[in-house]
Amino acid sequence: MSQHTLSVIVEDKPGVLARVSAMFSNRGFNIHSLAVGPTHVPGRSHITLVVDAPALEQLKKQLHKLVNVIKVQELQPVETLESEVMITRVSCEPQNRGQVTDTAALFGARMIDLSPISMTFEIAGTPKQLASFVEHMKPYGIMDLVKSGRVAMKRLSDIEPAVVGASARDRT
């Protein structure tokens, strides 16, 4: 089953998220990642959904049927700006801090917490960048990890982003 990214504009009303996620379970679709938040337009929220689904057309139509859904757009990978925030706690004795900090700097990750046994980084980027960061930190030991879920919107230019070494923040 392939993954699809959907950009969904909804009315900012109580229960809308429940309606969207309930429709998915009702129709037997699986949500891989979901991020929701208000937009610049009052009363409108944006939901970014990454879903595993064989028949996207049916899924889009079912989303449209929800009265509070205003717009549904499928985002093709090549034309998508996407980003995700991740917080990672890495096991780290004081003597290793230099190596860990160097690695983090290569990815543009920001240290947001420090303890005698760990360093905690915040990083924003594409799923690929985050995966790469995790790979490089694994040797030190990942103690904890959380992701925000992907947010995405359609790209209007054809400028390719740098794939490695730059966070979404650096690109702007």
Binding site: G15, R19, K65, L66, V67, I70
Partner: protein
């Protein structure tokens, strides 16, 4: 004495009156109490049901017999949970319904208060939309939106949950708007390019079939359907939800297709080269095994709900739109209009269909000395009672026989539970239909199993003076369950037998203020029908003791191909 303030309850009643509601069905209770007080001063008729499920099915019967929105009101907690079955039933059959439920006070929500249930959450899967109103000032707009959503696009049930304190809050009423629905824009007109493509396919078709569903009745498109079918000279099959959309005595009518459909209707679809689906949804009871369904057919699919198009069967020509409007466009843009005089057009196809109808008709055998066959009673009932009758059915064998053997001539004259298959639907639905159309004769055709699920609503029929006529076909059990056990479970009859003499149906009917009649011999059939028709001011229950061994045929076994129709017990 000071004047009472205008509250959320007043606003609710004012809104319902503004929507043109004349009759509603319900059961009161704690949280909805405030709404029942101004009801006393409202011109709206409230029919007091004996169970919320009954009230819900009454509202559905009202809607199906009129095409208007049915309204039901219930209290919080158990009142609301008892409405779940009618809501899901209305959702499956696209019946316009507005359900008003009371809710515990806003400050108590989420505290597991007395008679609290998460009603909007429960309703999420079984309504088209639902509202929890937290500000009394929102009531006019919410009620207006609810009626608009229920009746437009693909119709369906909408629930409005009203906390008790919201109903008690002073407020004012103002003319409502639909400004609160920015994402709801159902498509009504079919796309001209697709209309053209459909016409091209239909004109070139050699073996076309119009596969008509309940969407045509919901759209009020029967007249357009008749015009279109005659203009393109194509045979018509009407699904269980579409019985009455096309007159059964018309030369182009083939009856119902599917699991218990006529041989000709089912086989015509199988052999068709162009299948024109109008407001139907390729339900599994119609298609049988989907991969074997109408294998040679190009499909034109007209539906007001875009999600139905391509859901089960790919459409070669998809047309999103209201069935009535699309049929109008199709008729208007037809290049060649032919009528019955052009009989040679598709002569071979009609000869084949005629041959099937002749050699594979619906059949049963009524022995002169009994037992009574349900099919025989239904045929006699139509002969005696005539065509201007509304028929409500329960679910099971008797429902299939009613659909097969009643010759329908008008839309909104057949009220049944198609998608959900809700046993017990007939009696309350008939009461709702009769409340909507008091001058028409309304029959509930019911089984003994179904009757025992909702018969307490006959008390409602008596006390509210809604004289429906209920026929209970008593075959001593859940006939369809028994049929499946006989056919697919080696005849092992498990939990499907009901003692035929308990309850005593006529006596039970009399205890509820109805007239009770009974027929056990074929000779008594016309006698009880005459008696039942003669009683106009009282509900009547006619127990018809029927053949317990009779099976419903034709039958396509579940999951099987529609090419493998079983015509009778001898074919097994």
């Amino acid at each position: 004495m000071t004047q009472k303030p205008f509250t959320g309850s007043n606003s609710l009643l004012r809104s319902l009156e503004h929507e043109g509601v004349e009759t509603m069905f319900g059961v009161p209770g704690g949280a909805i109490l405030p709404a029942y007080d101004p009801l006393l001063d409202s011109p709206i008729r409230h029919v007091l049901a004996r169970h919320e499920q009954g009230a819900g099915h009454m509202a559905e019967g009202f809607a199906m017999a009129t095409g208007r929105v049915g309204v039901v009101m219930a209290t919080s907690g158990p009142g609301a949970t008892n409405l779940i079955t009618p809501l899901q039933n209305a959702k499956m059959d696209s019946t316009p319904l507005v359900a008003i439920t009371g809710q515990v006070g806003t400050t108590a929500i989420g505290s597991d208060a007395f008679q609290e249930a998460y009603t909007t959450g429960l309703a999420m899967h079984c309504t088209k939309h639902s509202y929890l109103v937290t500000d009394a000032d929102d009531i006019p707009n919410v009620i207006h939106e609810a009626f608009h959503l229920a009746a437009t696009g693909r119709p369906g049930p909408v629930l409005v949950d009203l906390p008790k304190d919201v109903l008690n809050t002073p407020t004012s009423w103002s003319e409502p708007t639909l400004a609160g629905l920015p994402g709801y824009k159902p498509t009504a007109q079919g796309h001209p390019k697709q209309i053209k493509a459909a016409i091209d396919l239909i004109e070139a078709a050699e073996r076309p079939v119009l596969y008509v569903g309940g969407g045509v009745i919901n759209a009020g498109g029967s007249a357009e359907l008749l015009e279109f079918a005659e203009a393109v000279n194509a045979p018509v099959v009407t699904t269980l939800m579409a019985r009455g959309a096309f007159p059964d005595d018309h030369r182009l009518a083939l009856g119902m297709p599917g699991m218990h459909g006529t041989y000709t209707a089912t086989t015509a679809i199988q052999q068709s080269d162009v299948l024109i689906c109008l407001g139907a949804r390729f339900d599994d009871r119609v298609t049988g095994k989907v991969s074997d369904f109408a294998p040679q057919a190009k499909v034109i699919h007209v539906d007001v709900d875009p999600a139905e198009i391509g859901k089960v069967r790919n459409a070669d020509v998809p047309i999103v739109g209201d069935a009535k409007k699309v049929l109008r466009s199709l008729v208007d843009r037809l290049l060649t209009k032919r009528d019955a005089a052009d009989a040679p057009w598709r002569k071979d196809w009609f000869e084949t269909l005629d041959m099937w109808q002749e050699t594979k008709p619906l059949s049963y055998v009524q022995e002169p000395d009994g037992p009574i066959k349900t099919q025989y009673f239904i045929e006699r009932l139509q002969k005696v009672a005539g065509d201007d009758v509304v028929i409500a059915a329960g679910v099971g064998q008797h429902q299939m026989w009613a659909s097969q053997f009643w010759s329908f001539s008008q839309p909104n004259s057949w009220v049944n539970s198609g998608g959900l298959g809700t046993m017990g639907f007939a009696i309350p639905a008939a009461i709702g239909a009769k409340a909507a159309r008091p001058d028409d004769t309304v029959f509930a055709l019911d089984g003994d199993g179904c009757f025992q699920m909702t018969f307490q609503e006959l008390i409602t029929a008596t006390t509210e003076n809604i004289p429906v006529k209920v026929v209970v076909f008593n075959n001593g059990g859940y006939g369809m369950v028994k049929q499946w056990q006989n056919l697919f479970y080696d005849g092992r009859i498990s939990a499907s037998h009901l003692p035929p003499d308990v309850p005593d149906y006529p006596k039970l009917a009399e205890s509820m203020g109805c007239v009770g009649l009974r027929a056990t011999h074929p000779d008594e059939v016309d006698v009880v029908i005459d008696k039942a028709l003669a009683i106009e001011d009282q509900a009547v229950v006619v127990e018809v003791v029927t053949d317990a061994d009779e099976m419903c045929f034709p039958m396509v076994p579940a999951g099987g191909s529609n090419d493998d129709i079983v015509m009778s017990r001898d074919d097994l």
